[in-house]
Symmetry: D2
Subunit: 367 residues, 4 copies
């Protein structure tokens, strides 16, 4: 059991989540590599020190290059805003250090492509932090679909909807500026990644974006409040996705339904410990969507609890992610989703922007 020095960039929402995950993952998964909370970085010395003390890191800095270069930092987690991801990742890869990067990969497709190139040139572990697809329920959904439990897939509907900007009087802030922080840049990647994972590559799409509230107290809004995509997957499945940050009432509306010729699956992250499965089996009178509660029979559940239906939560997804990242480092085998997988997501988003502007169907360029 070797330990590994972890450096985390950012101590906010996700910086904390990754810190906790690194503190807990060894005990949960009995990992071969054991994280040592080596250094944390935030924008000011004060905040960095505050995070260090709170999360239990050995050292703090406000200079991300210092962290990335530190010899005791063996692996990097990027949890700073999207605009910073590329530069950090490129330096880390140049030093041959493994990177777990928060979604989206960078500010745009150009960033994502450059980051993928850097990752592959370095040949070290690289992973994008799509946590929601790692719940026991969604992992199980992937498995069910892959093994044909619901037959040939005919329809996919996904959404990622929240309501943190539903109130028109919520003030303008950094989230209301720049495409990378809009709904398509910030929320869509999670569900697009899910769509690719559950169904497969996308072939074409037609998209629509909208800024519903153009001005907010304190400024003008320059990115999209919500957007939608009609799409066709390479395997022929028809699909639709919807993304919104103004979906009043929706708190964590990462939800999908997948229809097949022999069954269907429904999932909603707001009840993340349940997955609904319908199978066209048995007498008609007994058919119905069954609400399956996740338990030790489902992927990555048992390490959290021996009892079925006892439930995992948001933080646990980040712990699973940490396990995967450590495993990629330890085994030298890539763990999905790599930067290349993240690039596929970025390509879909980029095509959606084109489609929305041209108001036309577009084919997603091959990777």
């Amino acid at each position: 059991m070797a330990d590994i020095g972890i450096g985390i960039l950012g101590g906010g929402y996700m910086g904390k989540a990754h810190s906790v995950a690194m503190a807990a993952v060894g005990a949960v998964f009995n990992t071969a590599l054991r994280p040592r909370l080596e250094m944390i970085c935030a924008s000011t010395p004060e905040s960095a020190e505050r995070y260090r003390a709170a999360y239990g890191f050995a050292r703090a800095t406000d200079d991300w290059r210092e962290l990335v270069n530190d010899p005791k930092v063996d692996a990097i987690v990027i949890a700073t805003p999207q605009s910073t991801h590329r530069a950090i990742a490129e330096v880390a890869f140049a030093l041959g250090k493994p990177v777990l990067c928060e979604k989206p990969m960078g500010a745009d497709l150009t960033d994502a492509a450059a980051m993928t190139e850097a990752a592959e040139a370095a040949g070290v572990a690289n992973m994008v932090a799509y946590n929601y697809i790692r719940t026991p329920a969604s992992q199980y959904a992937r498995a069910l679909i892959a093994e044909g439990a619901i037959g040939e897939i005919t329809w996919f509907r996904g959404e990622h909807t929240e309501d943190f900007l539903a109130n028109p009087d919520a003030p303008a802030n950094w989230r209301t500026e720049g495409m990378a922080n809009g709904t398509m840049g910030d929320l869509a990647p999670h569900m697009i990644n899910a769509a690719l994972a559950l169904i497969g590559p996308l072939d074409s799409l037609v998209a629509e974006l909208e800024t519903v509230h153009h001005t907010r107290p304190g400024g003008t809004v320059t990115n999209d409040d919500h957007g939608q995509i009609m799409c066709r997957f390479a395997n022929g499945t028809m699909g639709h996705m919807f993304f919104s940050r103004i979906a009043t009432g929706r708190k964590m509306g990462y939800a999908y339904e997948v229809t097949g010729t022999k069954g269907a699956i429904r999932f909603d992250q707001e009840d993340q410990n349940a997955i609904w499965l319908y199978k066209s089996e048995g007498p008609e009178a007994e058919r119905g969507f069954r609400k399956i509660l996740t338990g030790p029979a489902h992927p990555d559940y048992e390490p959290f609890c021996q009892g079925p239906g006892h439930g995992t939560g948001y933080q646990d997804q980040i712990i699973i992610e940490a396990r995967d990242f450590l495993q990629a480092i330890h085994t030298g085998q890539p763990v999905w989703p790599t930067f290349r997988d993240g690039l596929d997501v970025a390509r879909v988003i980029d095509t959606a922007l084109t489609s929305a502007q041209s108001r036309s169907w577009q084919t997603i360029p091959k990777g």
Copy 2:
């Protein structure tokens, strides 16, 4: 309390529903006009006579012209296949007889336009049978939206999904032939009508249709299994609709969600006695979608039951419809949805077909 002679064309699924409704409506709603089940028509003398005896009509015929012309038949209900609607309606209107016509209005936009013209020329009661929008829950949803309970509407998502052809081995039949019997012709009208009622007129759309199972035992399928529409309403609301007859697991998936700046509404016909309402009011900690059970406080519920939560069903919608039709006849005032309203639905469908073929956004022509 005057009685009125009712003639019903068709004795199948809907012919029966209308017969029962006409038998019950007087007692339920204490209507001014009291239906007398005068004559029923079906394709053969034998079936017509069988329906007559079963539903309690005075007379039967296999000739729809005989029924329409019969002097004791004061009002007509058309519950035969779509291809027959136009001819019957035109004759009825020429005789000055009121018509309640099953959806969709005819086989296509041309039919619908001609039927509307005939109805308006006759100047008698004319109504299209969109029953689902008449549940206490959906009537209440309309009222809530209209009175601004959820603020400005920003998003509409609707679906009408069933699975009666989900099994690829289900044989070809009349339903699998002709656009009027496909999903866009047969199921979409209900939800499009709902969208227009809940949100308002549509401005533009981009649509996609698909025949998933091209051949079935006994023949080739010539119409669509499922389809979807991205759309924009005249009031600016962004929207999406999905229609399917192969939605495995869905039995009566007439469902919608409406998001506003101050709240949201969700409804699913599979639980037709509940409506989900979210309001951005009160302390954050107490907010959530509330499941409201319909009761005497909601439209058209009390005549069916004095107890809240006791529930109404499919047949009750047809009874409400019968009440509305009788009232239109009695008062001489049109009751929504008239043939002109039905024409609006037909126009959306026609535009969707054009859009799907041209794979492009299309503006819905003005009425």
Copy 3:
């Protein structure tokens, strides 16, 4: 197809429901006997006449004896308050006329016993109006349990909860006086009848009753607001029942869960078109309660609608009841629940009152 003259006593909540049912049942079920709405009775000539006109009866009276004795009245439906049931039924049976009697059978066990004796002496059709157990869902639940689909039954929990007197400021009225109108007298019978139907005869129980709000505007409350029973069925099943008219938030809380060694069933009347079934079959990972929507595959559904998931409602239960009553008359075969079955319910209630007073376990006397 013979017609049969129906006389209904009471034109209120249930008087109306039975009137509508008698108007509709022929068309719905193609019954051999066709009801003719002959006469209706209410407490005053004015109200009787009003009901007559509204529901479509031929004649009206305010004298129940006149109705019962009328030669054109072939069958009687009692929908007046509990205190009147016995006298009416006894006269009707003495005349050899079939009776459908609203629950509870009379004001107490003595009434119920006398009424059963009268019914059996007359040898004509007699039935107690337990409508809720007649939904397609609950009929299906009975069938599933009877055929062993969920194994040996180990646990039953039932409730009948509403909130019409939850507000302490709701005024005193006839409902708040007399044990027959209290929760145990008025609401409990439905669920006790269900328990006997689903599981079988009861062996013993310990009960508790409570008047929570002793005074209300306008008077003193002399009966129970809520009550509960722990019980043991003759087949060994352990059980519990709860009844309340002050169950804030509950509108039609007729709900039960039945646990067996191989599965479980859950039902709630507030979503009467769904039944939840769990079976201990197949891989653990795929197990869960499935929400089955009623449809043509379930008992007595198809006559109301050919489409699954389209739903039946409260009024439809009364129509099913009318069908059963007509059938009992037509065939001369008793249809469950007869007065004797209703007597079993009355016996349980009577034992519960004894138990609550003595605060002790009691054995239910054999019938």
Copy 4:
């Protein structure tokens, strides 16, 4: 920020959960005391060493006295079987070491009383590990009730139901022997503790226990499979509780409903991130149970995630528990539930056993 040496007894289901919690709690809650995983104990040297390595402890032992006496072990967590709790706790308290003890406190009321005495004599932090009541949802339910949000409480129904022994062919094991391991000993304490926390002290009860499956492969069953209690709280609330380990289909059925004069609350641990609240406020037509998703507005949620509806899980409850234990140690102030609170639970259970045997109502002895 001082560190504190933690010794955990038991490395199984709960031993692991407490280990992970102690590893994570500092980073999650920025605790004043920071746990150091000092020593773990299990029944054999091999298993102890395996747990040590897996969870990241410094040292391991198979002798609980060694752990308790170790000078570097500052605080004790007891996660061994119930029969061992008392002896361990007594030694720990004699040494003046704080103890967090898994439920139930010991094997019976005698144990619980002795342990409480020892705890209070020592005057150090002592806490019983009732984790479920620590979810944000249940903490919020307690607060709502306490502040009168649903008025005067009139009814409480609770259950703790699982199905791990539902299969009659599941073999006999230690769980099927000894009252402390039966349903009343093992599962009931959680819900009784919840009842006391939500409503207040119990006054009296009548209970029933049953061993449904007397023999199982490998042996005879000597404890109860399920049981129920009708009860009355000191504040007058009527109540019922049900406990089962054979509740087929139920995985984590820790569920309760609380009815008040102005509202009601429902909760089910199987969907632990939602709480259902009904308030008798506003227009009748808008009333309904609202499904509130926990978020930063609810107790102890934000440290786990800044986004509402993102959800916490089983492990997070144990982390909250660890925070409370550390806080009790740090501040010297008792944190609920102390051993004395646990003794109240034991007293209810003991009374229930007496009641079940005597088949009579019993008053719970005062503490």
